[in-house]
């Protein structure tokens, strides 16, 4: 049986589908605008027309240099924003609950732990931000959280969140033990852990891009299956979906996306939570549209947060990780308030 058609809740298939395609184009347009904004705003504001001409005709003038310096940051923001938002879609689909966020399940902390471990015991004292270093810790954390949260019969979001809180705390204690014992590691760790797009090596974007592309492809692959999983495990199996495989692939995809994002810019929370939720209001519950829209609007949210962070305390900067927490957490609270029924 084919997966659910993208009719959404209104039922009028064709009209709704063309509306969704149109919206997608609009979203892409918004992304372009926000990316240009990201190149424009900062301690030295460059007006948009100059940004455009600098991109089209790169020269060596002052504004060209400034714009060029902001390009890696913007690209990183696009990649990381897409990765985080899409991993949120997967997490919410797997747990069947609109409050899923990979950060709540310890992925970010796990990635941080393995990075810190590498720096402390294998590195020269500075944080090596290679994705390969971040992956083992991220995977370990996710596995442990799922093992704990799925003990006994069934798992619901509260169980996973609690398991995530426990695992996060234990890993955080480990990180504290290491960083408080090694002052150099502590120093680089405390700047990295806030989550920032600033001051990152431009080559980083190239390094994480393959991982993010792989993760996004996996997400696109299982999106139709997630529509079936949303109806319950038994119904999904009756529809021919192998729920175990879907969960496995989904967990891998989400971990890869988050580990790559975290390795590059540090742990950034709530993008994975807020974006799918906002998107769902427009697209309805079809995961194929959710993935597509989130891949475009995740970067929008992240870049907007980054721009806000640059504009608010100019000429200094507020790290994007702080801004997203203070935007995303209220979104979570609003969602919790509106949760109907379930105690």
């Amino acid at each position: 049986m084919a997966a659910a058609r993208p009719g959404g809740s209104s039922g009028r298939g064709p009209a709704r589908t063309s509306r969704l395609w149109a919206g997608l184009l609009v979203a892409a347009g918004v992304l372009v605008v926000v990316a240009l904004l990201s190149l424009s705003v900062g301690s030295k504001a460059i007006p948009l027309p100059e940004v455009w001409s600098s991109l089209v005709n790169p020269g060596t003038g002052y504004s060209d240099v400034v714009v060029a310096s902001r390009i890696p940051r913007t690209i990183l923001g696009v990649l990381v924003g897409a990765a985080l938002a899409v991993s949120g879609v997967i997490m919410q689909g797997l747990t069947r609950n609109p409050l899923g966020d990979p950060g709540l399940l310890g992925v970010n902390v796990g990635a941080a732990a393995s990075i810190v471990t590498a720096a402390a015991f294998f590195g020269a004292g500075s944080l090596a931000t290679s994705v390969w270093v971040a992956l083992p810790g991220a995977f370990l954390a996710v596995v442990v959280v799922f093992l704990i949260g799925s003990a006994g019969r069934g798992s619901n979001l509260v169980r996973l969140v609690l398991a995530g809180a426990v695992v996060t705390a234990v890993i955080a204690a480990y990180i504290q033990a290491v960083t408080l014992s090694l002052p150099d590691v502590f120093d680089s760790y405390r700047y990295w852990v806030v989550g920032s797009l600033a001051g990152r090596d431009p080559a980083l974007a190239l390094q994480i891009a393959p991982f993010i592309v792989v993760g996004l492809l996996l997400a696109v692959w299982i999106a139709p299956a997630l529509n079936a999983v949303a109806l319950g495990d038994e119904t999904a199996t009756a529809l021919g979906v192998n729920t175990v495989t879907v969960r496995l692939i989904g967990a891998v995809a989400t971990t890869v996306l988050c580990a790559a994002a975290t390795a590059a810019v540090g742990p950034i929370g709530f993008v994975g939570l807020a974006v799918p939720h906002i998107v769902r209001g427009f697209t309805g519950p079809d995961h194929r549209w959710l993935v597509a829209y989130s891949a475009l609007l995740g970067p929008v949210l992240l870049l907007v947060a980054d721009v806000v962070g640059r504009a608010i305390v100019s000429p200094q900067e507020l790290m994007v990780g702080v801004v997203t927490a203070f935007i995303g957490a209220p979104v979570l609270l609003v969602v919790v308030r509106r949760m109907r029924g379930a105690a």
């Binding site: 949260g149 003990a151 006994g152 695992v167 504290q176 405390r190 806030v194 927490a325 979570l332 379930a342």
Partner: protein
């Protein structure tokens, strides 16, 4: 149906302390025994803390040192280094244990503790705010208190139903904690390295360099609030059965809940202000106490003793274990407490009670 007959005089079903006709207090023999053993353990740990290690006092010399002049070497170790730390540890552990017991009973959830719902991180955020970003406005413990209060207030508002729905409280608490954590990390990143290290160590909870003033703060809070918590014990047992049942029996559930939370927040905030946000004692101590006492209800006294034992043991490890650097006590409680908690979660999930 036969007319009502006089009920037979029944043998007591549980041990009861009776004085005349007007005083009758049921006692749980198992509870008393366990509490006594726990107190003995606490005594042993206290003695160990004072006598262990290079600077420790010899066991035989312990009693004379207790009354000796603070100017002497033994007196110094005792009165400046170890004794205040120990005394603060006992009271802070007890306060955290009772606070956790109250929270868990009121939210009807073994994992509804001040840790999960953000009091600790709120206190940390308050400390970051008033210690680093805007220093000098209020003293640090007061700043931590304000932060904790803000966190609780946000959780109350955020759930949309106050504290009556346990899952909502937990989810909202995690959201509030995340905000607090972001704020704290920002503070640490912005500060100079020295201050940042001090703040980071504070955030794990630490009993290092505690003074007799700190001891006075925490002991007076404990002495004030613990009896109040005990008075609420019976009503808390009724709330376990659901608000409607409790209200029908005349135990006003809303009032009791609010009072319990106020007391719990007071105890937790007092502990946090002298020891920093020590992780997991408030979560794990009541659970251990309940399992040892094997009785329903909040097991308040036992939670206090178990909490004190936990914190003091962790502090003993921190002081004597060969880590090179003296770690904050919160690192140990988080590591050990977290592992224990994972085990607890697994068994609760297997039983299907959540």
């Amino acid at each position: 149906m036969p007319a009502a007959r006089r009920p037979p005089r029944v043998a007591a079903s549980r041990p009861v302390l009776r004085v005349g006709r007007f005083v009758s207090l049921p006692v749980s023999s198992r509870g008393v025994a366990v509490a006594a053993i726990a107190l003995l353990v606490l005594l042993a740990v206290s003695v160990a803390t004072l006598t262990a290690g290079r600077l420790g006092l010899p066991l035989a010399g312990l009693l004379p040192a207790l009354v000796s002049d603070p100017g002497s070497a033994e007196g110094f170790v005792l009165s400046r280094l170890r004794a205040p730390r120990l005394v603060v540890g006992i009271a802070a552990g007890a306060a955290l244990g009772v606070s956790g017991a109250l929270f868990q009973t009121v939210t009807r959830n073994p994992l509804g503790s001040p840790d999960v719902i953000g009091i600790g991180i709120g206190a940390g955020a308050g400390a970051a705010a008033f210690g680093l970003l805007w220093p000098g406005i209020v003293p640090l413990p007061v700043g931590a208190l304000i932060g904790a209060g803000v966190a609780i207030g946000l959780v109350w508002i955020g759930t949309g139903r106050g504290f009556s729905s346990p899952s909502r409280v937990i989810l909202t608490g995690i959201g509030v904690s995340a905000m607090g954590a972001a704020f704290v990390q920002y503070g640490i990143a912005r500060a100079g390295r020295e201050e940042a290290t001090v703040l980071a160590a504070y955030l794990s909870g630490s009993l290092a360099s505690r003074s007799w003033q700190d001891a006075a703060i925490i002991w007076s809070s404990l002495v004030l609030l613990l009896p109040l918590a005990l008075l609420l014990g019976t009503r808390l047992r009724l709330i376990e059965m659901g608000d409607e049942t409790a209200d029908a029996l005349g135990a006003r559930s809303n009032t009791t809940r609010v009072l319990s939370i106020v007391i719990a927040v007071g105890l937790s905030a007092a502990a946090v202000s002298v020891a920093g946000p020590v992780a997991f004692v408030a979560l794990a101590a009541p659970q251990v106490a309940k399992r040892l006492a094997r009785a329903p209800g909040a097991a308040i006294v036992l939670s206090a003793v178990v909490g004190a034992v936990m914190l003091c043991v962790a502090d003993l490890l921190v002081q004597q274990a060969p880590f090179g650097v003296q770690l904050p006590v919160g690192v140990i409680t988080a590591a050990v407490g977290g592992v224990y908690l994972g085990y607890l979660l697994i068994s609760e999930f297997k039983k299907g009670t959540m």
